[in-house]
């Protein structure tokens, strides 16, 4: 469905030759901001598991920047799936806010 907009290789670098024995692994990163869960049907070419974890961790503060505003409770999730469907990593980022006075009514 997303052909033509696949996660590609960085600009300015030659695209690596396809190596059938050691292809670049593809990881799928699902995200949930509490309002909308997005299942990644496109995937990302990432060199290894460490890079996949970094990608999942890094998206959370970006989502937080947009989503955390008027709540005092919100949890954001990111999950990494390997190409064979194995669930390999989950990260959560939570906001816990607390009024120290009687909460305003608005």
């Amino acid at each position: 469905m997303w052909a033509g907009l696949r996660a590609g290789f960085p600009l300015g670098y030659a695209q690596p030759a396809i190596n059938a024995e050691h292809p670049v692994p593809r990881y799928f990163i699902d995200t949930d901001d509490g309002d909308l869960m997005i299942v990644d049907d496109e995937g990302h070419d990432l060199p290894n598991l460490t890079a996949a974890r970094r990608a999942a961790n890094k998206v959370l503060p970006e989502m937080a920047r947009e989503k955390i505003q008027d709540d005092d409770r919100r949890t954001l999730y990111a999950r990494v799936r390997a190409e064979d469907g194995t669930d390999v990593y989950t990260a959560t980022l939570s906001l816990v806010g607390k009024w120290n006075i009687k909460p305003p009514v608005d």
């Binding site: 907009l5 995200t31 997005i38 990111a78």
Partner: protein, 251 residues
């Protein structure tokens, strides 16, 4: 796969009405494969490149490899005008897709006696600066949905101006990683945001074609006002600053 695409066919060659004067100065055309550098950061350009087909970008790379795409260029755009005028590139230019570029010798751009050429270069510079301001606003203040929606709206108007977009669709082979580098987001966030726009019924993306399903709604979401894409047009002729007198530093 032309058969699989929707909508009327697009012209094979862009309509480059406004760029006519610059096009006439092309001395050589060449094909550039995707992901090839046209100009390296720090280099002194030998010729200027005008894009004829495909997409290129201007970019800066940080020491550790992080990249910021500074501009996405469409046919009719001059890829490296500031670098040519400044005699040094503080950015690189790379082909995002397979491209055709026209090479224009620096001496043609510096020709003092050619008022029409100077006016055309001014228009290019003003438009580049206007787009860069819009990108800066986006990077500083717009959220991911607004940034992506704004870029899609902008590209539609810019491509339509050269006959390469219909009223609600255009071809794009820009990748998620490239969008991420242009919008200052991670590619995971771009992927998420694309799917949000899709789920909201605003866009469809298939076979390298972006279809905007509801143009007014996408423009509203983006806060998109196309006025910045026509710098110098808003004022009546008499009230405009003359575009034919560039600063002395250019000569």
């Amino acid at each position: 796969m032309p058969g699989a695409r929707e909508g009327p066919p697009l012209p094979m060659r862009p309509v480059l009405g406004e760029a006519g004067i610059v096009l006439a100065a092309i001395e050589r055309q060449r094909m550039v494969p995707a992901r090839t550098d046209l100009l390296r950061q720090g280099e002194t350009p030998a010729v200027a490149h005008i894009l004829l087909t495909g997409h290129t970008c201007r970019f800066r790379t940080l020491r550790d490899g992080r990249r910021q795409i500074l501009a996405i260029l469409v046919p009719g755009d001059l890829c490296d005008l500031e670098a040519v005028l400044g005699a040094r590139a503080d950015y690189g230019v790379s082909a995002l897709t397979a491209c055709t570029v026209g090479e224009i010798p620096c001496r043609r751009l510096a020709d003092d006696t050619d008022a029409a050429m100077r006016a055309a270069l001014w228009r290019h510079l003003l438009q580049d600066a206007a787009i860069a301001r819009e990108w800066l606003v986006g990077m500083g203040r717009r959220n991911a949905q607004e940034r992506l929606a704004h870029l899609f709206c902008e590209l539609r108007v810019r491509l339509e101006a050269v006959g390469l977009a219909g009223t609600d669709f255009y071809e794009t082979r820009i990748t998620q990683v490239e969008l991420a580098d242009a919008l200052g987001l991670t590619s995971v966030h771009v992927n998420r945001t694309l799917q949000e726009l899709r789920e909201a019924g605003l866009i469809r993306l298939a076979n390298g074609r972006l279809t905007i399903l509801d143009v007014p709604a996408l423009e509203r979401l983006a806060g998109f006002d196309p006025a910045y894409l026509r710098p110098g047009r808003a004022l009546p002729e008499a009230e405009r600053i003359s575009l034919t007198s560039p600063p002395a530093a250019w000569r």
